[in-house]
Symmetry: C2
Subunit: 342 residues, 2 copies
């Protein structure tokens, strides 16, 4: 079933069918109806591959992310999908699962071919060299959730103030009177959470609160990693009254570890983190966290890709997302009565 069949069936030329289907050119209402009727009766659907080939424009965009089961990504993907739909694009999703090769081969095959452009939402290290290469070939590429506004990646990106988010979290703890604050960072010191860590250090220094290197743990960006790191940290430093965690997912692990160790939260220990994923409000107690504009960054990432294709954005474009906001739930409280429950 091709456009030619429909044209013959309707007694018109293929061009007329094409025009009717895309609302282009001028077609009399009568032939329009005849064509539409033929399309309907034959159950004709245009071949989007053929259309993409001749239009040099694919109806899809690609989204690359590192771990779809991390609740942050579904929330991001939801908004990205919605935004793509607004621009009449479908979304090809590649879950790299932290495997660099998978991301690479996806980019090589899909970018600029099956999909017009690629949005990389890699929390963990994006393959910058490859992205710049694609870009140099004229393929629209953008990064969303870029955490280092001062270090642009050489690829257009959407950033947010990760350092400021961490500062908000720490200031909240300090405001509650906490004096012995530990940190669980969901990456290596130089890893993806380095801006959040920097914000933590800055705010701690300014507040004059004691902050020993021994009170810090660097680990992975997962529930289990946070759980293990917190057990280790709290065992070594039972005098801590609060823990800053760089991300919600490990923070939920921290919460559970503390409860397993017999802490009452927030009575004996406060926990604060960054992101505000859905599970943060479903835990017990609810997780106090600094919300980042996830949906906004997804939408702006897609929009950036569209702008790029229209020539209205360049390699150095940096889109700033809204400021993070503190969301106070049950996991933080006054330091006054903080003490280990034994």
């Amino acid at each position: 079933m091709t456009i030619k069949d429909v044209a013959e069936y309707a007694g018109v030329s293929v061009m007329t069918v094409s025009n009717v289907l895309r609302s282009r050119g001028r077609v009399s209402e009568e032939t329009r109806q005849r064509v539409l009727g033929a399309v309907e009766r034959q159950g004709y659907r245009p071949n989007l591959n053929a259309r993409a080939l001749v239009e040099r424009r694919s109806p899809t965009l690609a989204l690359m992310l590192s771990c779809i089961t991390n609740p942050f990504y579904p929330e991001f993907a939801l908004a990205a999908n919605l935004s793509a739909l607004k621009h009449e694009r479908h979304l090809l999703v590649c879950n790299t699962d932290h495997e660099v090769d998978r991301g690479m081969s996806f980019l090589e095959q899909v970018a600029g071919s099956l999909s017009d452009g690629v949005l990389v939402a890699n929390y963990s290290d994006p393959p910058l060299a490859e992205l710049r290469l694609l870009q140099s070939r004229g393929i629209p590429v953008a990064i969303s959730v870029w955490e280092l506004p001062d270090e642009p990646p050489g690829v257009p990106c959407v950033t947010f103030d990760a350092k400021g988010a961490a500062r908000l979290a720490v200031e909240h703890l300090v405001g509650l009177g906490h004096l012995r604050i530990g940190a669980v960072i969901g990456s290596s010191k130089q890893g993806i959470h380095r801006a959040r860590y920097a914000g933590f250090r800055e705010a701690m220094a300014e507040s004059k609160v004691r902050c020993l290197k021994a009170d810090e743990r660097f680990t992975g960006d997962s529930f289990d990693a946070g759980y293990a790191a917190a057990k280790n940290l709290l065992t070594a430093r039972p005098d801590l009254t609060a823990i800053f965690v760089s991300n919600d997912l490990p923070a939920l692990g921290v919460l559970n570890a503390a409860l397993d160790l017999g802490y009452l939260i927030p009575k004996n220990l406060s926990v604060v983190s960054i992101t505000d994923i859905q599970p943060a409000r479903q835990s017990r107690p609810g997780l106090t966290t600094v919300a980042i504009p996830t949906a906004e960054m997804a939408e702006k990432g897609i929009a950036l890709l569209i702008e790029l294709m229209a020539g209205r954005a360049s390699e150095t474009t940096v889109v700033q997302a809204s400021a993070p906001k503190l969301i106070i739930r049950g996991s933080t409280g006054s330091a006054a009565v903080a003490q280990r429950c034994t």
Copy 2:
């Protein structure tokens, strides 16, 4: 940059380049290397749209689901993506967000055109009529996570024993000595969880445990819906010692509602459900649940699509997934000491 450019650069015909790139035909090692060198130096990537057009075969499959932020779906999508990759296919994801129209327009546009086939993982009602229509046009279509092995949908599907899963859950409660068991169902009585509900009723009837209609609540398949339903149920029936929930997500809401009402779990109330999504083991207490073979169903769904395209499966193919398994965590306990904590 087209295959023609590369051919000229390498001093061969386009056909030789095509053959080298796809490891087809016979090409001498020397020309092969020359072609590969040219491809490398020019940074050439084949246009997959053009290839798809002439091969009448797209390198993508489509996955349709209803709510990507429901943790079940990312887990499903992860496995589906992996399975698709094994078959050298990329995955186009459509999140219908429970909007029927969005699913429809996705199917109409993408199925059989951008993607060769469609896997529908709609927990909630799949658009069966539309799927059958596509199927009748020769487009491979399959449903995964079909819950009614006895009522095949007229489209090839992957099923699991939902009724048996519910029975396992109830038998677990009965085995613990519970006599007053309530139910929170994450759909309407005739909705998507009807097989689970039927299993609940059957097992209850066999066990001779008291089961009043007043002890049942039908609600939505979300955390909040489960929370609200449980508050309502427990307020009306404070004598219940256990609740069967048809799905983990609302069960987590039930857990929270009970805790908010002052119940100790599992001391005063046991909660059991079905699925075993990741958050089930991260809650406090951990959620006792009947695990269903999510990843297996995703993999088999994709495999079914592939079989369909190869003509090795038909409209009536029903693939049975492994049996559900009870996973005992902290949310269920002996009924002996069950009583309301006031």
